[in-house]
Assembly symmetry: C2
Homo-oligomer: 121 residues x 2
Amino acid sequence: MAYSAINLAQKFGLFQEQWTPKVIAEMNDYQFKIVRLEGDFLWHDHPATDEAFFVLEGALRIDFRDGAVTLGPGELFVVPKGVEHKPFAEREVKLMLIEPRGVKNTGEEASERTAPNDVWI
Amino acid sequence: MAYSAINLAQKFGLFQEQWTPKVIAEMNDYQFKIVRLEGDFLWHDHPATDEAFFVLEGALRIDFRDGAVTLGPGELFVVPKGVEHKPFAEREVKLMLIEPRGVKNTGEEASERTAPNDVWI
């Protein structure tokens, strides 16, 4: 059988649009997604699940109601379930998200930032 | 509150031993682990879960009974549950594993490669 590695840089080369996570792999009922972000997201939380952020290129700040964390390339952060957060990137950042299948990017908030779910690339 | 990014390079600087996965973060009941591998592992499978491999430095070959895949930096592969596999690295490779808490590195096989579980760094 032919087995293929999933190359993140190659996958990022297939799209330019921001704020639209693309699924690149699944592990049980979890998904690996890649996304380009730039600018300000909205405050939201995910009541049922933690959410992992892993930065590949650029810098991502995640604001919390009582603090913030900034991630650079090769840095990981897991936002605990139910914790309000707001991602922000001054310049475009490329990152990988890991979370259960079916999690909406904006949590329960509907907005222009709400992206279609389960889009593979 | 003080929030801190988890820097993988910094975490790798804290240990040199090979074949001993270290937990760096949890997401729900899943764990992110980093490990240094060099040489040959043993054939095994994980009957109950998929297992994700993400290479940070070096090259990892994963042999299957009917093929193989080689991962370089920035490449991801998810080994499906129940599929026999054998990791191999000609030179030391640094990688991140993502899998449910409690998964043994050697599956059901006991060997000198069986590592203690749930060791944080």
